[in-house]
Symmetry: C2
Subunit: 184 residues, 2 copies
């Protein structure tokens, strides 16, 4: 079976939900996948086109006179099979996330302790606000999708985000403490 890129699989997956248009897909990503995946329109529309070309989806265009075109994409059998096949494949390798704060910290002997502490504090604040966002999303999933088959898996990914974020916040605090000690 042919291999596609990650963006293609992400969109195949989203098309299994009630989101069927490029615009809806973008919304869905921004609302639900935002903590571990993002895609721009510049990828979405071309990818949707290629899905149709590859026979992974059909498109239904509602072009009433005068009105704007709206495209609805629906997975074909082949599309579903392709998605399932990808889901079954093991994850090749751990992502090496490029982390700007770590890169800066790595070379921070060229900075004052104060400056470095400021950097870490700003970072910590962002992590905290991200954590708040996760909590809010979690509430909304629990509230709206109690019976949803998907909900369990969505909560799993959120749980990951929460745990890792908390762990990073703890690291910030710890590291700030060590810097403080050095300063004395």
């Amino acid at each position: 079976m042919k291999n596609y890129n990650h963006t293609t699989y992400a969109i195949l997956g989203i098309l299994t939900t009630e989101c069927k248009s490029g615009y809806a897909i973008k919304k869905f990503i921004d609302n639900s996948l935002n903590h571990f995946w993002k895609i721009s329109y510049g990828q979405i529309y071309p990818t949707l086109k290629s899905l149709v070309q590859e026979g992974l989806a059909d498109v239904y265009t509602s072009s009433s006179e005068g009105k704007q075109d709206k495209n609805e994409y629906h997975l074909t059998e082949k599309g579903i099979d392709t998605l399932k096949e990808w889901l079954g494949q093991p994850v090749e390798q751990l992502p090496i996330e490029r982390n700007e704060i770590l890169l800066k910290l790595f070379f921070s002997r060229f900075q004052s302790y104060d400056q470095t502490a400021l950097l870490l504090n700003q970072y910590k604040q962002r992590l905290e606000s991200r954590h708040q966002t996760y909590l809010a999303i979690e509430q909304s999933i629990v509230y709206h999708n109690k019976d949803d088959e998907d909900a369990m898996y969505w909560l799993f990914t959120l749980d990951y985000g929460k745990s890792v974020t908390i762990s990073a916040i703890e690291w910030c605090k710890r590291t700030l403490g060590k810097l403080q000690k050095k300063e004395d």
Copy 2:
């Protein structure tokens, strides 16, 4: 002051260590920055060239007759200033790490519990081996660079890697447990 891309700053930073050639830079990245940054030769050599063009570094080429060229790059005053200036700037936004396992998990209702559990277990193993690698690097830093000014900051970034990895491993275990419960 002009803005450069992250790769440029990473290389500026590495040029402050004893690594002065494209080859040495690549080694350094693979050994020390590997858990949060990686760069290929396809970026390194062109970037080094552009550093010289921009006046951020000087290049000294040892081209003895018959022998192969070896290039040594040294930061200029302007290069150091540019690096310091970047270090002082706050990190714009948290990285959204694209995480393939989370993407798969998100759509895992199309998979059997067994398949999903297998996926998570494989992932957990990779995390565990990564954690082992971190411990080994830590040992080697502590052993070789006890007095090094840089060592503290290097250990900070490693500590981040270790914490976040452990947190992810815990999440794997927890999530596997929840799946197990569902299966009963």
